[in-house]
Assembly symmetry: C2
Homo-oligomer: 308 residues x 2
């Protein structure tokens, strides 16, 4: 158990960390800082921590582990605010969805004697804010840590143990490679989901009411990730530009080929792609990263309307 | 209650119709025909019907309602096989995911005195075969019927009542318009899901094992529909080509704009699209077409691994 954990930002990810850390007794004191008084009041009402403040520097004072849990675009100014208050020997970490940018922006502001161990839990939902969190969010998911090689092994081990205690498996990775991996497993999927929902919203030949009524044929799946927080995702695309553009380029090349197969009516090419893609889902299910239940286990039947 | 219902094809959709029709007593006799003996034996073991045969013509003899439940590409040859055996006054219907093509291919083969009322239930899962079906599949979903205007009102009303009894809401639509609607709500979503899963599978810079481990960031959502039946989806793209290419064209235009916004770092444009797309999901949830539970209600926590 550490003496003090400070969470800067207390939305979906921050509150999930707080709940599990409390449940498992990972810190004697949990200090919570956020920007808006409403959010702080909500966190306090939920009993997520022991200390609540609008002053990030106050929250990090004496903390052994400090975790930034705000959108990546806010890291620079927060790092400036807290740098002077970090205690020697403390670990500064984060949960941001991009990593090279975080090293570049926060790295130079980290005081000597503070260990900078950036991280990214590959877990989330489309909901935001302190009440969206739950203790099980990280169970069986992966958390990627991207410390520079000059960081002390002990600090890295502390963060590994911390994420394992939260329920995650942990992997170490170079920040640039992390950004490529998430570009294909998370960022480009979000981009194309946002895009197709936008396209459907703009059509004149098909009405919005038709899109909504008949969405169960596949479209609604995309609306889940396209309902994710706009500011968080704006920051992701502003800060992981080159990896996203590279992976999007690959996606578009492949889509041209597929478009052509549809145009010329190349049945064997279509069937062969559609057969190959099934195997990946099976592997994801076997790896414990997805449910085997049909339709994600969505409710069917009479209770659907009530539930929605 | 009708005397005899004939289902030609007994996969996910056919078996779901059979189960609900039995449960609600919609037909005195349910006749089932399919192509392969194994599938017929599976249907029989599940007790889905009253008569089982490999001869579609035999199944439709004396049937009041005949529903084609096979991939759309097989309709032409099946229609030829059964045309002579359809009884005068019978209704011939189907569940195929495209409609203009079905009118074109099957329409001319329908004998005088048989009423042709094509249909498409907007409901499904990624699983296939007789054991994938369940009686609740159509509850609160929409079924679109696309009869030609010259069909007798009574036959249309019979099929409307039939689908309502299965649990669906029913909408009448022109076949060409149907094909445009499903191109954006179902076919293009499937195409881009298949495509991104293919892209991820082909990368060298990111390994397949990384794609699988870190898929919970969004990618795994796409693998569900990209695990759908390859033959069914091959046939969809071969038979709804022009509507799919038109909607794909719109998607690609919009994606170019979005790609440019990422490239130039246009934060306000990104945030504004990402804000707009949230509203559509809310409407879909309000319309009872989607669960409000975070992450589709996927299991989280300790049971995830077991369930998978
Ligand atoms: N959501 C996911 O699925 C997911 C998954 C993995 C990693 N992440 C990463 O986790 C981080 C937080 O995401 P989240 O989903 O927890 O977000 P969230 O639920 O929207 O919460 C964001 C938190 O950050 C604060 N905040 C927002 N803008 C700020 C600013 N400019 N300055 C200071 N504080 C600010 C908010 O405070 P106020 O309400 O007080 O303004 C709130 O406490 C992001 O970096 C994201 O990339 C998210
Ligand atoms: N799956 C969905 O989400 C969904 C939703 C709405 C509409 N639909 C439409 O419903 C229809 C059936 O889909 P499904 O998901 O139920 O498929 P499925 O589970 O794969 O079952 C297909 C059935 O059709 C038979 N079949 C396949 N190829 C055939 C051929 N060439 N000749 C004769 N019979 C053949 C199969 O018989 P054997 O096993 O004996 O070969 C099986 O009984 C398709 O037209 C599809 O477009 C599907």
């Amino acid at each position: 158990m550490i003496e003090k954990l400070a969470l800067i930002g207390i939305g979906l990810i921050g509150s999930s960390i707080a709940l599990r850390a409390r449940e498992r007794g990972l810190a004697k004191t949990i200090a919570i800082a956020t920007r808006r008084p409403e959010t702080l009041a909500e966190a306090q009402a939920l009993g997520l921590g022991d200390q609540y403040t609008l002053d990030a520097a106050e929250a990090v004072r004496d903390a052994d582990i400090v975790i930034l849990c705000t959108p990546v675009g806010s890291y620079g100014s927060i790092a400036k605010e807290i740098a002077g208050a970090l205690k020697p020997g403390a670990i500064l970490s984060d949960v941001g969805s991009v990593k090279a940018h975080v090293h570049k922006v926060v790295g130079p502001l980290v005081p000597k004697g503070v260990h900078f161990i950036p991280g990214h839990p590959m877990a989330g939902t489309e909901h935001s804010g302190p009440s969206a969190g739950f203790a099980e969010l990280f169970d069986n998911r992966w958390c990627i840590l991207t410390p520079e090689p000059d960081q002390p092994l002990e600090a890295v081990e502390t963060m590994k143990a911390f994420w394992r205690a939260l329920g995650s498996d942990v992997e170490l990775m170079d920040a640039d490679h992390h950004d490529l991996v998430v570009a294909i497993t998370s960022h480009v999927p979000h981009l194309i989901a946002y895009n197709i929902v936008g396209t459907a919203d703009d059509l004149e030949s098909v009405t919005k009411s038709e899109v909504i009524k008949f969405s169960a044929g596949g479209f609604r799946d995309f609306t889940r990730i396209a309902a994710s927080d706009p500011v968080m995702w704006r920051d992701v695309f502003l800060t992981n530009r080159s990896a996203v553009l590279e992976m999007l380029g690959r996606f578009l090349e492949d889509l041209s080929t597929l478009q052509r197969a549809v145009r010329v009516g190349d049945g064997p090419a279509l069937e062969s792609l559609f057969t190959r893609t099934r195997a990946i889902r099976r592997s994801i299910i076997e790896a414990g990263q997805e449910t085997a239940a049909p339709d994600f286990g969505r409710p069917h039947g009479a209770d659907t309307k009530t539930e929605a």
